[in-house]
């Protein structure tokens, strides 16, 4: 039923190794023979069996991608971009959602690690020890985790945040609120205070909360109570909650309060008003992580040192920010 290398060999009147070489090292085959083999292969509809290939030791040709929550709108564009990138490099992507549960993540990694040549772990819930140990068994790249000796893609919000601070200052804002909803190990709060201070803005941090819509809903009256005229939310989703509740409270955006999100997800561009937000390029994230991983896979033997690359951010001004109200 399924066409094997042997049948192609027979049809082309050559040996199996020639067929194998025709696909893996075409330059080692006489052009004429190559042509015959390729023709026979297409005629029969031959396609190499990846299981056999990887059993033989050639790698699986697939990259694993471990994601905390695919329903988080931040991830789909990244996954999409990683697939596109990987495909161009001849890889397939095996994506798994772990629901931000460590147990799930451990199980998933176990079941997936034999099917892939390497793993990209997004915001892994695993301990540093475990991650380092995993890195010993299979090439990995972590994103948004800082583990010594493990390759890493780091998201830097610094640029976007300082642009946001600048943007607000230029609009005459003086008092701002930051809604924090990070897991401690991923804290976004650090650079924020510095940037806002540098711009001469008073910043009150509230939280930490869970990064959900309801967090924004909850935070909205607090913003008003603080007499702040601008908010930086942990992410777009939280910012949308703020928008929603501010509307309910009769406060206008950006008339009374300016709102800024983080991530530039689909949500930001389709909200009313559209949301000013800090964008982290999904394409760049994808390209960098795939690049780092394939590098690690390729250079497996000549132990390439772990690398850290940083992916920047920038402000995307939209309609949710404007001049501070006169008092």
């Amino acid at each position: 039923m399924t066409v094997t290398i042997r049948e192609v060999a027979e049809a082309a009147g050559v040996s199996v190794s020639t067929v194998s070489r025709a696909f893996t090292a075409p330059d080692q085959v006489k052009p004429l023979t190559l042509k015959r083999v390729l023709e026979a292969a297409t005629a029969l509809g031959y396609a190499a069996n990846p299981a056999a290939r990887s059993l033989r030791g050639g790698g699986t040709g697939t990259l694993g991608l471990i994601i905390p929550d695919i329903a988080n709108p931040f991830f789909p564009p990244i996954i999409k971009a990683m697939q596109a990138r990987a495909r161009r490099l001849g890889y397939t992507v095996l994506m798994a959602d772990c629901d931000e549960q460590e147990a799930d993540e451990i199980e998933t990694i176990a079941s997936v690690s034999k099917r892939v040549d390497g793993l990209v772990l997004w915001a892994s819930t695993l301990s540093e020890t475990r991650l380092r140990e995993l890195a010993g068994r299979i090439p990995i790249v972590v994103v948004n985790r800082d583990v010594p000796e493990v390759s890493e893609v780091r998201i830097s919000l610094a640029a976007g945040i300082s642009q946001a601070a600048e943007h607000l200052r230029a609009y005459g804002h003086r008092k701002c609120v930051f809604i924090n909803a990070s897991r401690p190990e991923l804290a976004r709060g650090k650079s924020i205070h510095d940037s806002f201070e540098a711009a001469g803005l008073a910043l009150t941090e509230i939280g930490p909360y869970e990064p959900r819509f309801e967090t924004g809903v909850h935070a909205a009256p607090l913003i008003l109570a603080h007499n702040a005229t601008a908010v930086l939310a942990h992410n777009d989703l939280v910012a949308l909650g703020v928008l929603h509740q501010l509307a309910n409270l009769g406060a206008s955006v950006p008339g009374d309060v300016s709102v800024i999100g983080i991530d530039d997800t689909l949500l930001a561009s389709v909200s009313t008003p559209s949301l000013t937000t800090i964008r982290i390029s999904p394409d760049e994230l994808a390209v960098r992580s795939v690049e780092l991983l394939t590098e690690a896979i390729t250079g497996r033997d000549d132990d390439v040192p772990a690398r850290v690359v940083e992916v920047g951010s920038r402000l995307v001004p939209r309609a949710s920010t404007g001049p501070a109200p006169n008092r």
Copy 2:
């Protein structure tokens, strides 16, 4: 480096076949032996090599999922649910995004089909002929496509739409607009006219357009021009465009116009006002499609007939619908 069945056999003092059986048919092994083998396996950190397994003919243990666009917020919850379901059945899911391009889809299927035991094809762009031919080579389930002799999960909007019509009628609406943005083969328009007519509502269809936010923006003034007091949009994204532009035009929702979306994506619950929409359960979709596929895979030899299952819908009333304005 990687531990094989042979090492476990040695450690447990049994033959490789016993180890194999310990994992694939534990009841054929004497309990005591089984225990010894399992202990040795855990001690060594043994895990079966899936490549070897599938080479031997045991199937790959993975299900393929072909999606037109993972960035469409309708899909992530479905993918998530399919993964969860598949995992419980001992399968891994290999998801691939095809960008709604037929060429991409063909290429993707080619590269993926040898790595999976079966395929779920969402709103496939492939021709009926091709799909039927594919079904001859590998078990497949199509969703939102109607191909004779191929198992199918069909989304029925009928219930949700008639509830929507009822909902609007009860609120005193009389003139409605339907914004159509379907690919012809997936047309959502059919049952809509009937349901609205049955509820005694005048329905004007505009379109077809592309299913994008801008479509809603474009449609908003048309709704007003038609003197309609309610809109049913092709999906939530389009509905959000309507909401956005209606706000710009100074029309209140639901004061002047009621808006209904379709899909109940994240967008619907976080918009302002929150969006009344027709929900299609991602979990049910996932369960049904995985079920149909595993059924087809399991019963591969005793050729199970193609099956069609229908997944229903229902209205989720939120804040974007309300009483029709008095004239």
